[in-house]
């Protein structure tokens, strides 16, 4: 096993993740002691799920680049499966759904083989045209548009968007001397997830004014602003070791990730509200399903990728 495909800055940052988890676990432990009457059960479950997620993530990162690509392909698979399990689907489309799943290995193969042209048009162009063709051959026209539309929306968010995280890994070292693509990946994933957590914590502590009450009644202006602030502090602290960004550019990325993360979160909330479910699944105790965890990433990943790709590669 070789961990030397990751630079020392990335390795130390991974160690830092465990430091944060230890601190969070300790705070939770003392809060339970100090205020035994309050209910911290859900927070406890969440922290425990974070331990599992961070462990799997670091393992996937350390083993090899291909294992990391496979890990994100698997995340796409779980997310697409969760999505297709909660939306209305047509019996006639069983085969079409099978093809939809099959796009995942292809999309991540394009990423792994660094074929950027194919990676960027495969789902938006070829799959977009191919799946309706399959549906026409099957010949069921009732709810045709709903079916073609929801399926493509799912593929764009769960497969195309998330695969941008994986593409960061294969970017040449030249754009980010030192930490490379893995540094950018860690920066993106850490900022997106910490933004979620800090928006949640700021909102719980100071939240008053609802920001999008009809979509997500728990989201507040105070939570959003607190999240943007916290994410920018992290962006400033980490940009020097993980990214090629100057400090002003770090602020721009911090704002980009925190805002896009918020929009991704409420977009998936809107989908769930439309369907009438609270959580997309129960894979991650305390969080809900995998979709509840990667909702922000579906927006931050492509935006962060193209921002960096345009400016630094």
């Amino acid at each position: 096993m070789s961990v030397f495909h990751l630079g020392p800055t990335v390795l130390w940052s991974l160690v830092g993740l465990y430091g944060i988890l230890v601190v969070a676990t300790a705070i939770h432990f003392f809060l339970k002691k100090i205020r035994p009457d309050s209910n911290f059960r859900e927070i406890g479950l969440r922290i425990r799920s974070w331990w599992v997620m961070v462990s799997i993530f670091t393992l996937a990162m350390l083993l090899s680049r291909n294992v990391s690509l496979f890990f994100f392909a698997f995340i796409s698979f779980l997310a697409l499966k969760e999505y297709l399990s909660i939306i209305p689907t047509r019996r006639a489309d069983r085969r079409v759904l099978f093809w939809a799943y099959l796009t995942i290995p292809f999309q991540y193969y394009w990423a792994g083989s660094e074929w950027y042209g194919m990676f960027i048009i495969f789902i938006p162009v070829y799959v977009f045209l191919f799946l309706p063709l399959c549906m026409v051959i099957i010949g069921e026209t009732r709810n045709f548009l709903r079916s073609a539309g929801t399926l493509h929306w799912g593929l764009m968010t769960m497969v195309f968007s998330i695969s941008h995280v994986a593409y960061l890994l294969v970017l040449p070292q030249s754009g980010n001397l030192g930490s490379g693509g893995a540094g950018l990946l860690l920066f993106l994933v850490f900022l997106t997830q910490s933004n979620d957590v800090s928006q949640f914590l700021w909102g719980k502590s100071f939240g008053k004014r609802k920001i999008v009450p009809s979509v997500s009644p728990n989201k507040t202006l105070e939570g959003f602003i607190g999240g943007v602030g916290t994410t920018n502090v992290f962006a400033l602290l980490l940009s020097g070791i993980l990214t090629p960004f100057s400090l002003p550019m770090a602020i721009v990325t911090g704002i980009l990730i925190s805002t896009a993360g918020f929009v991704g979160d409420v977009t998936i909330s809107a989908v769930k509200r439309d369907i009438g479910v609270k959580d997309s699944g129960n894979l991650l105790p305390g969080h809900g399903g995998i979709l509840d965890r990667i909702d922000s990433l579906t927006f931050t990943a492509p935006l962060f990728f193209h921002f960096t790709y345009y400016l630094y590669y």
Binding site: F77, L78, K81, E82, L84, S85, I86, I87, P88, T89, R90, R91, R94, R95, L97, F98, Y101, R142, N143, I275, G276, V277, G281, N282, L283
Partner: protein, 219 residues
């Protein structure tokens, strides 16, 4: 125990512990509610709605692995024993308890193999709909289960509602398409002399379980 039996047991173990677990936990994924209501020892009966061959597989992954050789899915002999290969697989690997669907003589009791099996302390998996039917539709239960329950009033009968497997692998399809499946376990009930009342109670429990979930349309 002869070598053939040991081989079959080994293959069965590999089948359920590795192949079925991989398919059920990774390719599909399950969402289980009230798992604590499942029996932990035999004799017991699990009653579930039936949409797919995978129904049995999912139910068996839910029970503790020590019970593997006690679990007997009750299945139609005419279907599963129709060819030698199918019969070998159904009897030795899946471990079905075959019962006939048609009586040869008017006073033949088609449930007799179930009596024997329950008396041996096994856990029967029973699909009272009789066949897999239309995917994702609950059809009326047949009365065999009430007769079995009346004869063994001390055996817990646990209703289980399955959803999603009719989408994954419905009748007549060979291509498996991944979906999460829901497994809702109900409170166990016990048989009585009043067979009609028992059936009504059982169907009511199944209906209540199906109210617990939000199942997206599948037309």
């Amino acid at each position: 125990m002869d070598i053939k039996k040991i081989t079959n047991r080994f293959l069965r173990f590999i089948f359920y512990r590795i192949v079925v677990r991989l398919v059920v936990l990774i390719v599909l994924g399950r969402n289980v509610r009230h798992r604590n209501r499942l029996p932990t020892a035999g004799p017991a009966i699990l009653v579930a709605n039936h949409n797919s061959h995978l129904d049995t597989m999912v139910l068996i992954t839910l029970l503790s692995s020590g019970l593997l050789n006690r679990i007997k899915p009750v299945a139609a002999a005419d279907y599963f024993l129709s060819s030698p290969l199918k019969a070998w697989f159904a009897l030795n690997i899946v471990g079905i308890l075959p019962i006939k669907r048609q009586k040869d003589t008017p006073d033949e009791d088609l449930l007799a193999p179930c009596y024997l099996s329950l008396e041996e302390g096994n856990i029967l998996v029973f699909f009272p709909e009789g066949s897999r039917g239309e995917p994702e539709h609950l059809t009326a239960f047949k009365g065999g289960i009430a007769k079995l329950a009346e004869r063994y009033p001390d055996v817990p009968i646990t209703p289980v509602l399955l959803h999603g497997l009719g989408k994954v692998l419905p009748r007549g399809e060979k291509l498996l398409v991944p979906f999460f499946c829901d497994v809702f376990v109900g409170e166990p009930l016990y048989g009585s002399k009043d067979r009609k009342g028992f059936m009504a109670q059982l169907e009511k429990r199944m209906a209540e379980l199906s109210q617990e979930g939000i199942f997206p349309p599948w037309e």
